[in-house]
């Protein structure tokens, strides 16, 4: 019995070779991690997948496999695809709220703009006498310039 076996080789009850593809990612103190992955994917499939990946990607691959395996064990029908559904629905709801909010902003913006125009028109709306007065005033202003 090799006391230095990784969790995978312990689980599979075999010798753990020095070049074991599993050992860097399945420390011997966490059997459950490999057990979950093995239950859903099988050791052979996981080994093939890891061997096809560059070494620097394997840790992330094992983490994602464990996550998906765990989701599948917890929710056998949908697994982690259930999360995809949920987030998609949330995106749809958020997009709908965004569209509604922007529509309200457009209405208020239009109302505010219209109110401003009316307000400006009331200040400068000239009467018949004030037009003439305005013209005289402008000529005088030019004189000062």
């Amino acid at each position: 019995m090799n006391p230095g076996r990784c969790a995978a080789c312990k689980y599979l009850r075999r010798k753990c070779p020095s070049d074991c593809v599993f050992s860097p990612y399945f420390p011997s103190n966490n059997l459950q991690r490999f057990a979950s992955i093995h239950k859903i994917y099988g050791a052979s499939n996981v080994a093939k997948l890891l061997q096809q990946l560059p070494v620097h990607h394997r840790a992330q691959a094992v983490d994602s496999l464990f996550f998906e395996a765990h989701c599948r064990i917890e929710a056998p029908v949908y697994g982690c695809v259930g999360l995809v559904f949920t987030v998609q629905q949330q995106i749809h709801d958020a997009a709908t709220q965004l569209a509604k909010t922007r529509a309200k902003v457009a209405v208020l913006k239009s109302t505010a703009h219209h109110s401003q125009i009316q307000s400006d028109s009331n200040v400068f709306l000239p009467g018949p006498q004030s037009v003439a007065h305005l013209g005289l005033f402008n000529q005088a202003s030019f004189g000062f310039i």
């Binding site: 239950k39 859903i40 994917y41 099988g42 052979s44 499939n45 997948l49 096809q52 990946l53 990607h57 992330q60 691959a61 983490d63 994602s64 496999l65 464990f66 996550f67 998906e68 765990h70 989701c71 599948r72 917890e74 929710a75 056998p76 029908v77 949908y78 697994g79 982690c80 695809v81 259930g82 999360l83 995809v84 559904f85 949920t86 987030v87 998609q88 949330q90 995106i91 709801d93 958020a94 997009a95 709220q97 965004l98 509604k100 909010t101 922007r102 309200k104 902003v105 209405v107 208020l108 913006k109 109302t111 505010a112 109110s115």
Partner: protein
């Protein structure tokens, strides 16, 4: 003695690939039709026929079609992105969600400014809380809260990751 039933036309896609006789109570036959060989091939490559069979046996019969479809989706995702699989798709969706949350916050702030300015009564009465995801929390309860460990940064680190559109689930 050969069976009177022609084997090749009666075999489901799974039994064809596994080169075995497709029995009348084959667990795969209702879900892996012979005209969809790639579907089972992908599922078999990622999960293995034996594991798929065990998963199907564990779920009620009326839910097996959904189970097979979700397994096919996961297998497809894993084959496209061997490092992140389905997690990559979820990370992408989460990124989109964060962008939408940001845009929604900006729009609401603008709405509040206009409402205050015009003293309009057109204010949304259905405000939601604005936490990190607002009310749009990615449910982690069913998967033990593992989703937090897959930050968007860790997804972006994988420069070889193939970005694909999973907004359309094949069977929805």
């Amino acid at each position: 003695m050969r069976s009177q039933e022609p084997r090749s036309s009666a075999s489901c896609a799974a039994c064809k690939l596994l080169k075995r006789r497709c029995t009348p109570n084959c667990i795969f036959a209702p879900y892996f039709r012979s005209d969809e060989p790639k579907k089972f091939a992908k599922v078999h490559k990622v999960f293995g026929a034996s594991n798929v069979s065990k998963i199907l046996i564990e779920v009620p019969e009326e839910q097996r079609e959904e189970t097979v479809n979700s397994l096919a989706y996961e297998a497809e995702a894993r084959l496209r992105d061997p490092v992140y699989g389905c997690i990559g798709a979820i990370a992408l969706l989460q990124r989109k969600m964060i962008e939408l949350q940001h845009d929604l916050a900006l729009a609401r702030a603008r709405l509040a400014r206009y409402a205050a300015t015009t003293s309009s009564a057109i204010i949304s009465s259905d405000r939601v809380s604005m936490g990190p995801f607002g009310e749009f929390q990615v449910p982690a309860a069913s998967c033990g809260g593992f989703i937090d460990s897959f930050s968007l940064n860790s997804y972006e680190v994988n420069q070889d990751a193939h970005m694909y559109d999973f907004s359309q689930i094949p069977y929805v």
